[in-house]
Symmetry: D2
Subunit: 460 residues, 4 copies
């Protein structure tokens, strides 16, 4: 999928004894790198120190670029939180990187956040009017300042978090470190994922359980929507902010964001995508010689389609994995030549073949159109496009960075028009009623497809 | 495949008019990055300048790390050569990066080399005795100095290259730029690949034709074993160094080195690997629930095995593509936890399943053993390992960086012993007589499997 | 002087038309670099933009290391403030660099600060109790948050600054940019310097007037103690915070901090040091062959001593100006050898000579002792040390980074004992009553010599 | 002096036991940094290793930028050579940095060079014709290849050096390391300086003896013109290349290049400059209120003038030592403002004064003209310029980077015209016959003043 991005991943550790928390967080963040590649950061605390000695490091770049061994070793502590970021709100600059770390009345407050708060503007104005200053331009800083403010009138950090949570509308998974505690909270709709793991006596939090494998921890359970978990020397306690009238887990975690080997709210991501491909095959069957997928986003659904349709899977595109972020974009003149740079057709595979081509979504339509042209040039006879999600019709307010409505091709054209524009022989989008094939009975937010938002939505 | 590396890729361009040769070489090298990730370099010449103004830039790192737009633009020319390097002989340092660029009696000589010269030591001693100095520690510099020396007594650079080539034993694909000409030469056994492409009036050379797509050029033909191609303002001419008594194309280009979407000496790499998987299925059939491959090296053969055996393919491992070179290695203590860092099992896929696991080779056996353990821990019922190449028994003298005999597990243990050591339920290596399933009638060097070297082999 | 450091320099510009404010600030900061070498930063605002578009850049390092042309050009504006920092309070990290830049109720607030606030702890606790968070660990951030808080209840930024100033005890020169105004304020005791310059219609602020020459501006006048100057589109206005009962300009600006070519509160720095040397010659005359100074801190006073005593000046030490911050310190073993690295004796100059050696102060005594040993080893016959300031006996609370009392040699030993310890033939400190020779009638703070602090001093 | 540059400094160490040669060379090069600021490099050899294990590191930049502790420690050896470079011939690029290090018939050859070879072109052509290739564009590489070539037909490295030296015309100080020996050679005219030092059993070579102090070594003696010194396990031996008919030590070492605290061929650099100032005072006396010098190049001569003329010295300009190489040059518009950036007038010192202003030379005349304007603007009444060297009239072929004749103001105008052009009230250059006041009877090359070159001079 080109043009869609997830904003963040969070990871946390509470250890009773191991002072190398930063190392565990490093490996955890590496496992969550797919959730954000613009910045990374780690804050740790040595709870044995007299005052709870917090240190942190963060910067723009990939986890492996931001951290080296020296930096990890310098930041010594037994508890800590980490963050990988893709910017949805707030520019890509150093002030907006996380963990956000503040000195406040009770010592040091550190916070990481995945998600998007819908009522940020109103909350921010309230704080402004009381004389608050902000350094960053993110909703995350508003949350942090709100918690700090409420802490002054609360008996504990978890109480302050609870008070703050009742004011927040939107999707969020938060980890807060206040020097000797870690508090985790998940929005009451369950929009954003957050789960709990364990290794010996050490506890872990992560956006996805694939990160637990990276540190040798075991998955315990998902944090429940609206749940606040607090870990301190006294152990783990759990509380609930408030009950939302409905749960609405983000469907895009399954379709696109999450790692294949994760399991979120009981559903395996790989299986969900594979089954989505099977559903597509049932709803939009076609006679063909081979099934293929757009690497990497369409491959798993293609396996499922192939399985269900009993048409062999074959790789039609080679993806150059060395085209990194620092890659020099071709000029307009070089463009045509360079279309084969990232993805190149395996000509012997596709020549004279009838092909089912799977991708997980169409945003603007330019990418799929290019790929179809490449297949035709390589001699493909028929190209039947199958998309493993319904058409994208509504904006997301919870942290998924979707282009403007005006750029969404499905918003402006019928499926038949799109088929013609991209040059496919047939085109099928997953049916809205087939969403269940992905996630079973799990209540999901699929507002981007049907416009039914689980929360009020601020207009600004 | 862990532990095997290719040494280099070369790319060249001759344009009559376009002064942005460095840009084309950049994209060409990006497409060849899989052939070497330690260093990259580009040398170009503006043949319109009075003296043939050569400039170059090279450094340790990936192509996208070494070059930025400024550097490309500063190195302006209409012809040029480029190189990506993995060090087989010579340390990984800046002196050993290529293109090698020298001032010599006729102006500037630039050279890039893929391969390994067997009789380097003898050639070097000759040059030493005449007072020659070397800066690098590579066989490539010996070749360059030899050509420069012979040029003083020859009427043209191509004549000097021819004289030099008659002295070289081993595998080589060379591009030589001497200011206003580009000379390409491929060893007479055809050990190393080299091919010719065209875009309008511009000619291109590349180790693999996948690089032509990256610059919008068309594949013309492979350079023939022993062929010397010279391009100058007068056009393209072809000559032959000498006829080898036999051709011996490196089998490992098909098994491991080359890109899936390349075609070398008429054989599609993807098809070769796919068919290898099919042959494996015929020779070593087994009842199983799913076929899977070790990412990325075993995936294509797994598709072939699945196709032939009519057992569904499924992804059993997720590969974290963000584990780069700068990744901080886990300490001994963290090791066990970190085994899941690079590859993580998709537990829902493998639980209670009988699995065929394909990889392209076993070098030391440690990687496959770890993967089998991971599968067992995730609940796999049976694991049948199939290797899409025969056992590795002999060293390679032509540029493939194979570990010492003593480290090669196949050299020291029987297949049954290896099966036990790695913990598989069954183990099958491709049969030597099935090599034909990969490459048909193409005469190949498979000395690493059978010890039959196509050239004399120096002992030192 | 080894061991004493100034904390900061500030520079500001208000231009009606020139959008290259960042360039002027860059040159101004270069001229003030001697006041702080740990970090530098610039914030500018384009007041023609609809919202007052503030941008900024800051980092650890020298001005010439932090900024390049690209960065200056990217930060476009017609007004702006800049800062060079040496850390007295707060660690040397990126959070503590200045300008501090915040979003607040009225847009963007930027602030730079030279000095030290004595009652920081009390002010901070007040803010903490209201739920304020801090990112930095500096008194400067407390000042900024205080101003922002007060702004919410004030009719203008200058009114908020005035309210804040009445609460601040200590030395400060502040520049505040709030998007379309620049407000400058100097503490009511005049402890820290701040002056006003002009170039055409553009106004400038700087810690020292030497910075005006660097941008072609003319010195207008010193900002008066307690004065608040506000510049906006409506022009320049002046107000006073409150009258202090006494003025107390920091004597160390003349003795050590300020640049030779600056003039502060009417007194030329060069002349002050030169006259200090003359006073020393009158108070502690001695027969000698030559007068010399410790480079650079003692050279000017040595010129004065030489002039008054009619003993020729000669250079006895060569200073290696290439020993930068990144210089690798010699190991203990290399230490003895390396004592000549920074300063080396000109042996032919000092052999068999009776020498008057001038420095501006003695902190721990180790440096002067080493120099005397070097002179003796080079054959000097007599060494008479003269110090152009009285002995250091009391800590500074206003921003001068003096070592602990316990480390101050003058606090622990008599002059005669010190003479013996350093190995001098005679030793004379400037007499307290000779301070007037430096600054005439100007009321100065010389609390570091006599313990008479002009303000209450917080105990913590 | 603006516009004149020295090309290089060399440093070497032979230790019997200390494996930290790289550390000593580092400190030695720091002391010689004034001789070249564009690049630095160190090559060392561990002679206890079986083969004489040579390693090296070099790069563009200052010594303190090029080396860090890690790099020094990684390059372990007991003998070694180092270089700081300013490029006179050859561009400023990495290939031209030194030590030049080659593998050759006898192992590894490393070489550092200060000076310039007049007959490079002829020597290079000879080597070209025999098929030699060059990577760099410097005369130093020609010398190195010549030595390597001759080594093949010689019984020892020192014999090869001697044979090479008889072919070299020009100024040179060379250190050659061939793995277990260090050979030092100085040109037979003594144009370039080179001296020998000792610390315990360790020997040192350096361009100037000030470097010995930096490593705690003692100065033994200057290497004699034409002398070849070889140090090996067997001790130190000395030989002579050939006798030149005359010695001709470069006068500019005393006037400008060398450090104040060095002593070259028996003459103290500080004393030489001081005495030059005295001679100027005798030859061009004037009534004035103060004597001052252009920092730093004119200060020492100003001390001498002041001493002889009995007119007090005073500092008229403050030099900003933070204006480094990375300083962003002011634009044309900012130029006028920025003239005070590097040097700023101390207005109180010069107002209404009659001033003698000393500098060591005038190249193009622009700098001195600016300074005079600044002094006038600050209120100086009279300005009498005195130059402590004769007018520059002829090019230097031995390594001093003088601008083209056409740019040398003295070549194109009379002294009276120059006086008018720069706006001085009077102007006096040191008389040619007063050169003796600088260096006594020492035979010097002063061809830049009188055109009498000590060697044949190649025309190309």
């Amino acid at each position: 999928m080109a043009g869609l991005h997830e904003e963040c991943g969070v990871f946390g550790i509470w250890s009773e004894s191991n002072l190398q928390a930063s190392h565990s967080i490093y490996y955890g963040l590496l496992a969550l790198q797919h959730r954000g590649q613009e910045a990374a950061g780690i804050a740790v605390c040595n709870t044995f120190g007299e005052k709870g000695n917090v240190s942190y490091y963060k910067n723009l770049g990939l986890v492996s670029e931001v951290f080296d061994e020296l930096t990890l070793n310098k930041n010594e502590g037994n508890i800590g939180i980490g963050h990988v970021r893709y910017s949805t709100t707030g520019d890509c600059n150093i002030e907006n990187t996380q963990p956000l770390v503040y000195n406040y009345v009770k010592g040091t407050l550190a916070l990481v956040h995945n998600g998007n708060i819908v009522n940020t503007a109103a909350l921010k104005q309230e704080l402004y009017d009381e004389g608050t200053v902000f350094r960053a331009t993110t909703d995350s800083e508003v949350v942090a300042c709100l918690i700090a403010k409420l802490r002054a009138k609360s008996s504990s950090i978890e109480e302050a978090v609870k008070k703050a949570a009742t004011k927040l509308i939107g999707g969020y998974a938060l980890l807060i470190m206040s020097p000797r505690k870690i508090v985790a909270v998940r929005d009451p709709w369950g929009l954003k994922p957050l789960c709990l793991g364990k290794r010996g006596n050490d506890y872990f939090f992560a956006s996805e359980n694939c990160a637990f494998n990276a540190v040798g921890a075991e998955f315990i359970r998902d944090i429940k929507p609206g749940e606040i978990v607090t870990i301190s020397k006294k152990g783990l306690t759990s509380d609930f902010t408030f009950e939302a009238d409905k749960q609405a887990h983000c469907i895009f975690e399954y379709i696109y964001f999450a790692r294949l080997d994760s399991k979120i709210d009981g559903i395996s991501v790989y299986k969900s995508r594979f089954d989505g491909g099977r559903a597509l095959a049932r709803s939009f069957p076609v006679e063909a010689d081979l099934v293929t997928g757009v690497p990497e986003s369409g491959i798993t659904a293609a396996y499922g389609y192939s399985f269900e349709a009993k048409i062999p899977f074959a790789l039609a595109f080679h993806k150059n994995s060395y085209i990194g972020r620092s890659f020099i974009k071709p000029t307009q003149e070089e463009r045509e030549a360079a279309v084969h740079m990232k993805l190149n057709v395996l000509e012997d595979v596709v020549r004279d073949k009838r092909i089912v081509l799977i991708d997980d979504s169409i945003v603007r339509g330019t990418t799929i159109k290019n790929l179809i042209t490449m297949l035709r040039n390589a001699g493909a006879k028929e190209i039947h496009v199958r998309i493993s999600s319904p058409p994208f019709l509504y904006p997301c307010y919870y942290g998924t960075d979707v282009p403007d409505n005006t750029e969404l091709i499905a918003n402006n054209y019928s499926t038949e028009s799109i088929r013609k524009m991209i040059g496919a022989d047939s085109l099928g989008y997953m049916k809205l009623e087939d969403i269940g094939s992905l996630v079973g009975d799990l209540p999901v937010c699929k507002a981007c497809f049907d416009g039914n938002y689980p929360t009020p939505v601020e207009q600004n």
